[in-house]
């Protein structure tokens, strides 16, 4: 301790100073590419959010477009179409959480209960596959499986039981269930990976002790497995809940069709359609800003709650 205090007081020799400067320079070059790209593709668009307070025109640009105050915020808040889009977004998000979030937890528990190890590994491997497919391919697969003719796989299966054929993808009322199910189909195996890992980390002697005390399998799961997974579950829940306004663009955009109409419109597809194809830049930027502000606020609040309850947070 004493020696370091002494050396700190002594003036730094020029050679050391030079090598320190060279070191800073090398660290800077390592950071340079990422900082430049982030500046261009994140920070400039962040500054571009200011066009939501302008009557932005492509011709005048950000610096010269006239100031419009909250005009566009009032415009979308008083637009019934916007509220319908918001309602769709929150409905799909709700089911994504109620069904899509619990499915991997259940799946992980069920897979762990499987007797044969080889069968277990095979099911796991197959379950990861859809995660690697883009929504374009998933959407192609669903189009074919849910095809209204006798060739659609679902109708073929139902045909065995003397049912159908039915139509699915052109019925507006079916759209939301279909996209929620498609999301589960695509991600359940992959999202279960984290829970498999957590379950493997639970102290096995707890199960032995419970067994000796006469606890059945369900009691063991309820009193040992689930509490053991609680921190990870709450962390994942946090992430999910802070994204309730971001229903992924790909899934909705690629799975909807003309027959579905406005039930298939969520914030991300609405912003794309109105913003880019109808060039309503200021209006949709305003919506995007409010959306990410609310999402950020939810994240902060949910993180506080999680830290207090489970002692685990995102940061």
């Amino acid at each position: 301790m004493r020696t370091t205090a002494k050396t700190a007081k002594r003036p730094v020799p020029a050679a050391v100073k030079r090598s320190q400067r060279a070191r800073s320079l090398r660290l800077a070059t390592l950071l340079l590419p990422s900082m430049v790209l982030l500046f261009l593709f994140y920070y400039i668009p962040l500054y571009g959010l200011s066009i939501s307070f302008q009557d932005y025109s492509l011709y005048l640009g950000i610096t010269r477009s006239p100031f419009a105050g909250f005009k566009y915020y009032i415009q979308f808040l008083t637009d019934p179409v916007f509220w319908n889009v918001l309602k769709n977004t929150l409905t799909i998000s709700f089911w994504d959480i109620a069904a899509g979030f619990t499915a991997p937890i259940l799946f992980a528990i069920l897979v762990t209960e499987m007797g044969s190890r080889r069968y277990k590994v095979t099911v796991q491997t197959i379950s990861y596959l859809p995660n690697f497919l883009s929504w374009i391919i998933v959407s192609m697969i669903f189009n074919q499986v849910l095809s209204p003719y006798d060739s659609g796989l679902l109708n073929q299966v139902l045909g065995v039981f003397g049912l159908g054929p039915y139509t699915y993808l052109t019925v507006p009322a079916y759209f939301k269930p279909i996209v929620v199910i498609a999301d589960i189909w695509k991600n359940v195996g992959w999202n279960a990976i984290l829970y498999f890992a957590t379950m493997a980390g639970i102290d096995q002697s707890l199960y032995e002790a419970a067994f000796i005390d006469g606890a059945g399998r369900i009691k063991q799961i309820w009193h040992i497995t689930l509490p053991g997974m609680a921190p990870i579950i709450s962390l994942q829940f946090l992430l999910k809940i802070s994204n309730i306004f971001n229903v992924g663009f790909d899934r909705i955009f690629l799975m909807s069709n003309a027959a579905i109409g406005s039930t298939g419109d969520v914030l991300s597809t609405y912003i794309y359609r109105v913003g880019l194809t109808q060039s309503q830049f200021s209006l949709t930027t305003a919506i995007g800003l409010v959306q990410s502000l609310i999402g950020f606020t939810i994240l902060i609040v949910a993180n506080r709650i999680s830290k207090r309850v489970t002692g685990m947070g995102l940061y």
């Binding site: 950071l31 500054y47 391919i137 990410s292």
Partner: protein, 295 residues
Amino acid sequence: MKIYNTPSRRTFQIINNVFMLVFSLTILLPFINLLSISFSNYRAAEAQAVSLLPIGFNLRAYGKIFQDTVFLSSFVNTVWLTVLDTGLTILIAVCAGFALASKHLKHPKLVLFFFLVPMYFSGGLVPTYLVINKYLGLANSFGALIFPVITSPFYIIIFRNNIMNLPQEIIESAEIDGSNEYTTLFRIVMPIIIPTVAAFIIINAVTHWNEWYNVMLYIKDTNKWTLQYYLRDLLNKASIDSVNANMGIVNYETDVHPESFKYAALFVTVLPILAVYPFCQRYFIYGVITGAVKG
């Protein structure tokens, strides 16, 4: 793990095993169905008669695909873009992660903040689109498919944490031996963090292979398309085509039905993934777990 082997336990196990079989079939059967359609002849595809086995087996759809110039250029573009984008993403992230983990970095909090903001906040679609398209002049150029997608703050933070969790003596002793930052990173640190790097190379490559959104936003020329966007175009077009085809004169012996063509294109696109993923599982799993517990 010990479990009471009661009759109800055995019943549960049977139901569970059957359920898992059905679940696996919901993933496998559609693939077999689509594959069969791609191998079937015109008449069968038109009549929507194909189930799990091809009718009138032939490879004409695949032959036709590899004569399609847009498909071929999309294929070539996807390959080189995936390699380039993945390589740059990982290289940039490892470099930045190492610098952020270095204890010699000046203003570490401020620099870290610069990387954390984009993880929670972004300008959103419209401002990003305007910047890329209008102000940076990347419209309809490959640049729009490269520069905006090669910096991932998420990866940077993961590599930073990974490097910070190494025993710091390794880095310190390298410095005492006169190694500068570049040599320390590429000769000392890189070999140690290679499992994480490998995992994220594979995960990232899948992401870039599946890229289509930026093509839709920024690219006009068909010779700059990627495979996924080519498929997306087929997805929109196929139903119209099959109507048109019926109005023309069809040669049932030699023509390829649009549905067969579409699914042949689909299989060529997913084949690399299907071939690779079962063998890379442990990397994926490693990546998922590293990504989740970033702290």
